[in-house]
């Protein structure tokens, strides 16, 4: 069978599986729709959380980012896993004991204030939509490269699939679909990694292969070989990176705290039967996530090694097949600055932004690019970092079914995260806004209908974002984590660990943390991107890492304001005491 047939087969079979599960696990009540009935086995929930959490960014982009940034890529590895320790130890069991449906539920009740609840809902909706836009781009990339359909058609197919199982099944349908998606995505990630590790180092376990010697009899270690070849081309060493220490520190911290504050992850821990299950479930989730996250740095290093070997310094006429395949999709470009027909790779960008292709071909047969070359470096090759994982099986010359598997895995990663996000958005609208704020007497049947309508609207908005990606999408991913870190995490944490924290402190903290982070990221990313250099940053902290500073501001303001305002009423003290002990959690309930 041809690779193309295999791709249709694998992707089609996985889609059929997801829809089958969705029909089998339809939600019949709001409790099933919001928290899957509250009786999900902690290991199953851990697996669903892993799929929910690992998005198109983890599956497609992360290894590519690490491949081209070396040590600096560690911020994603530590940041996106370390947050689960904070979640399991500091938040999840207590929120489960609290026992309602949503994060704004907790904030609104603990701080006895509908203002606090509304601020939380606004943060949640903004964070989730920013995130969804990224998933849609992932779906579009996979479809356009592997299924030969236009990106827009791909996005519409993807939306249709998510629509079926999230509107029909709610949290219950999503949970069991995500279990299937986790299996597909982890298998799709590991198989090529085993092959490539064996090919490069002779050791098939990628985590060990990364620390082994290159399989060419030279006795040189993989990382040593990478350092040497990169330094020869004028790059910093792979194991050194280029970011300042304070920036690495702050980005890691912002990603960790942001992870712990992401509503679509937190809400997964409302679905297990007991408070202690929330801890156990977080452990399993991180174990499943760690499988991919400890493999990714190995995949990254091997990909960079292969790239250096087969592209850098090779004449375009002898470029490998995958190179020209991706050039056809516009995600790779070669601009022959010095006219020697050789693909020279050096430190720096060949031109600004993404390639704008001109009609016709150059002297070596390459697609012509109309972007003016960026002076000051000799680099001639543009690579979209998102393609490294997808191109890897082709780069390593693996059989067609592995390529088909990776296509299905990328779609599983993007769709599972999109579904989880759509669910928190629809819950926020139907439960937190409609039921808790505007129409407390709404019947369960109508609330469930409202949740389904809200999910449908959210899918349509996400689809529009995927088809007409606003230029700012890639620029504002920092927003999602920065805002989660600076707004939601501190108030939830203080709501559990401090009995004295009152509504004035919490609201002032959220507003202060949110505003400084919003203004800082907005200034450097949207309104004045030219000024975004390390010299202009506050203490050298990039916008990606500023969520950490925003978190500190939130804590400081909240503690200060709460000292000068009246303490919370006595029933709040009793509420905090009751969420601190695990006994008597029962199932999640409506109030």
């Amino acid at each position: 069978m041809s690779t193309q047939t295999l791709i249709y087969l694998f992707v089609g079979a996985s889609f059929a599986l997801y829809i089958g599960i969705a029909i089998w696990t339809r939600a019949g009540s709001t409790k099933e729709f919001y928290v899957a009935g509250g009786g999900v086995n902690p290991v199953v929930n851990g697996m669903a959380t892993a799929a929910d959490w690992m998005s198109a960014a983890s599956f497609l982009s992360m290894a590519g980012l690490i491949a081209f940034s070396g040590y600096d890529g560690s911020v994603y590895l530590m940041g996106w896993t370390g947050g689960f320790v904070m979640l399991a130890l500091l938040l999840a069991p207590y929120l489960r004991k609290f026992g309602q449906f949503t994060v704004p539920d907790f904030i609104g009740t603990r701080y006895y204030s509908s203002v606090a609840r509304t601020v939380a809902v606004v943060c949640l909706i903004f964070i989730s939509f920013t995130y969804i836009a990224g998933q849609m781009r992932g779906v579009g990339i996979v479809f356009s490269r592997f299924l030969d359909v236009p990106i827009n058609t791909g996005v519409i197919i993807g939306m249709g699939i998510v629509f079926i199982y999230s509107v029909l099944g709610g949290m219950k349908g999503i949970t069991y679909t995500q279990v299937a998606q986790f299996c597909v995505l982890i298998f799709a990630y590991m198989v090529p990694a085993f092959f490539i590790s064996a090919l490069v180092t002779g050791n098939p376990i990628p985590q060990l292969g990364l620390g082994s010697t290159v399989n060419d009899g030279s006795g040189t270690f993989v990382l040593q070989r990478l350092d040497e070849s990169l330094q020869m081309m004028g790059f910093p060493a792979y194991t050194d990176g280029a970011k300042s220490r304070i920036d690495v520190f702050c980005i890691t911290a912002a990603l960790m705290v942001g992870t712990a504050g992401l509503p679509h992850v937190i809400v997964r821990f409302f679905t297990v039967p007991k408070a202690s299950d929330a801890r156990k479930s977080a452990g399993w989730a991180l174990l499943f996530i760690a499988l991919l996250y400890t493999t990714a740095p190995a995949v990254a290093a091997f990909a960079r090694l292969n790239f250096n070997g087969s592209v850098a310094g090779t004449p375009y006429a002898e470029a490998p097949g995958w190179f020209t395949n991706w050039e056809r999709n516009g995600l790779i470009a070669f601009t022959d600055r010095n006219g020697d027909g050789v693909m020279n790779v050096a430190n720096g960008d060949p031109f600004t932004g993404t390639p704008a292709f001109a009609p016709g071909v150059g002297p070596s047969g390459e697609r012509l690019v109309s972007n003016p070359p960026l002076p000051g470096n000799a680099n001639e090759v543009y690579v979209d970092k998102d393609i490294m994982v997808l191109a890897n099986p082709e780069i390593a010359g693996l059989p067609g079914w592995v390529i088909a598997l990776v296509a299905a895995g990328g779609l599983a990663a993007a769709l599972s995260t999109a579904a989880g996000l759509l669910l928190v958005i629809s819950t926020a609208v139907s439960h937190d806004l409609l039921k808790s704020t505007f129409r407390p007497n709404i019947s369960e049947k109508n609330e469930l209908r409202a949740a389904r309508i809200a999910a449908t609207c959210a899918i349509l908005v996400a689809g529009v974002l995927g088809i007409y990606p606003p230029g700012w999408v890639a620029q504002v991913v920092a927003f999602a984590f920065g805002l989660a870190a600076s707004s939601l995490f501190p108030v939830i944490f203080m709501g559990i660990f401090s009995k004295r924290m009152n509504k004035e402190g919490a609201i002032a903290g959220m507003v202060a943390g949110l505003s400084v982070t919003f203004l800082y990221i907005g200034w450097f990313k949207l309104w004045n991107p030219d000024a975004s250099t390390a010299d202009d940053w506050f203490l050298g902290i990039s916008p990606e890492g500023f969520g950490f500073v925003g978190m500190l501001v939130n804590f400081a303001v909240a503690l200060l304001v709460s000292r000068f305002t009246p303490p919370p009423p006595p029933e709040i003290g009793r509420l905090v005491e009751s969420i601190r002990v695990p006994r008597g959690a029962g199932e999640a309930h409506a109030h």
Partner: protein
């Protein structure tokens, strides 16, 4: 009521034990990631395990293994503390 007082005292002792455990585990969490992987990386990079400079290994591999172990240890230890204070679920 004396019964209530006993229950409150037990809950207080439980909470103190929990916070103590949290402080220890969060200190380890900080040490392996921000410590070994970022702040003291250069010093650790002078040592190697296999082909990994040690600081680089903590940043891209080791810290993640420790994170997983921390959560499972916390789960196990808390179960014991909860049973001792008769507050388990």
């Amino acid at each position: 009521m004396p019964e209530d007082d006993a229950r409150t005292a037990s809950a207080d002792a439980y909470w103190k034990a929990n916070v103590r455990l949290l402080l220890t585990l969060m200190a380890i969490w900080f040490a392996v990631s921000f410590g070994a992987g970022i702040l003291f990386r250069d010093a650790l990079d002078r040592f190697a395990i296999g082909g990994f400079p040690l600081g680089f290994w903590f940043a891209q591999q080791g810290s993640i293994y420790v994170f997983v172990a921390l959560i499972f240890f916390y789960h196990w230890k808390m179960k014991r503390i909860e049973r001792r204070h008769d507050l388990d679920d």
